[in-house]
Subunit: 264 residues, 2 copies
């Protein structure tokens, strides 16, 4: 059983994970960050020790969590000097578990599928945690730990995790970009973005009960070319948004056709 | 003051509007729908009379609301035979108010900026209602009525309303399409769409406190070409999604650059 953890990283994910561990009675022994002030800030919130020196990591933690940017994982691993029995996980969506092979005999992945921010408290109990491990005994340990933080724990392979991450890019990054385009369109005409917020919240809330294809409405779905043309004309000063409008409208229409075809 | 209403239409918007009127003590006198059963179904919920014949509309209501598809408004108007003093509004985002000119001396627009469904109860009190009228006295009447249903009432011109509708297409239709693409990507690999739902809800909830450009994360923002290439490769069997991925990623990067440039 994992009773204490060393966290390598102090960014968005590391911060929310540290808070969730702390609140669920799992000791965060130490926080590492390249920047000492960043390590100190997070360590202060969860009563942990801190360091900006990988050679000063505590040597006997039950689990070492590497929660840094994808591209920094390799470098962290090459500079770790832990006993080869120590259990190490990373938290990245797109990085295969096997990156940890050779650095320890016990390793795995602990991937929370959520958008996490340093200063916005996450309700970790509803965050899907995707776990993977190199050995059943390690998987059991991670399963038990994840189960203390979240009601939604899933055993997911590296290949599946990559697919989840790709889907998450559409459902988070791209969706958020469309909020941004909406905001730009309104700002260009001095209209307040707040007017769109209830719509944004309800659009998301709907998928709890309605499939997204079923929930789809709007000019593209009904191939309303008059409205589509008029919208494209309104976007003539923003050719990049015009292009996206055309492509996405076309794609909506195709997907609706495909599903109608599947149904009948 | 508007104490009673005749509703022309019984679709998604008409249904939620009828329920909101009814619950706030404004009498729905009569419901018209082309299909009699549809009129009867909604009329039953709000204690209204019903008809599928425009020549049988009650002649003395305080307000006539045309809540039908954009393309059906003109035909409805041509078949109405009301006293020319009657107050008439439509509820469409993209249709100018002036479509009502010539059919009555008193007219306006009552546009709820929300995605509404027949069978999903809307909390109308938070729905932004955009109103417009051909005369200050009509505007006052609509303002007062809207204020009884919603805490968010806005005087919006036809041109502004069209801009809001365009922004709403991005924030609702296009966003929802990206939920659908996420669902397709997972389905192709037999992964459960439920795994994405907490992310979708949190992505929307974030905009309550964080601007969408500020909230943006992901490979496109940091121009992480390795992850972008790998995602494009994963989409090779879905070329339409591949194309959208490229365009949107490019657009995210450009918008971030623009905003960074604005900042420094």
């Amino acid at each position: 059983m994992i009773n204490n953890v060393v966290l390598i990283g102090a960014g968005n994910l590391a911060t929310q994970l540290a808070l969730a561990l702390f609140e669920n009675g799992i000791q965060v022994k130490q926080i590492y960050s390249r920047k000492l002030e960043t390590a100190i800030e997070l360590a202060g919130k969860v009563g942990a020790a801190f360091t900006n020196n990988l050679s000063q990591l505590i040597s006997d933690a039950d689990l070492y969590v590497i929660a840094v940017k994808d591209l920094a994982i390799q470098e962290i691993l090459e500079n770790l000097s832990l006993n080869e029995n120590m259990l190490i996980v990373h938290t990245a969506g797109s990085v295969p578990m096997e990156i940890l092979d050779g650095f320890s005999l016990n390793y795995g992945v602990f991937y929370p599928l959520q958008t996490l921010s340093k200063y916005r408290k996450a309700d970790f109990s509803v965050v899907p945690v995707c776990i993977e491990a190199n050995h059943p005994s390690n998987l059991m340990k991670l399963q038990e730990l994840a189960g203390r933080l979240s009601d939604s724990v899933h055993q997911i392979s590296s290949v599946e995790r990559k697919t989840l991450h790709l889907a998450a890019v559409f459902a988070n990054n791209f969706v958020n970009h469309f909020y941004a385009i909406g905001a730009e369109i309104l700002e260009d005409k001095k209209l307040n973005f707040d007017l769109l917020k209830p719509l944004i919240l309800e659009t998301a809330a709907k998928i709890k009960t309605l499939g997204p294809v079923e929930a789809q409405t709007g000019p593209a779905t009904r191939n309303d070319t008059a409205t589509i043309s008029s919208h494209l004309k309104m976007l003539q000063d923003r050719p990049e948004f015009q292009k996206i409008y055309s492509f996405v409208s076309e794609s909506i229409f195709q997907l609706q056709q495909k599903h109608n075809h599947d149904l009948f």
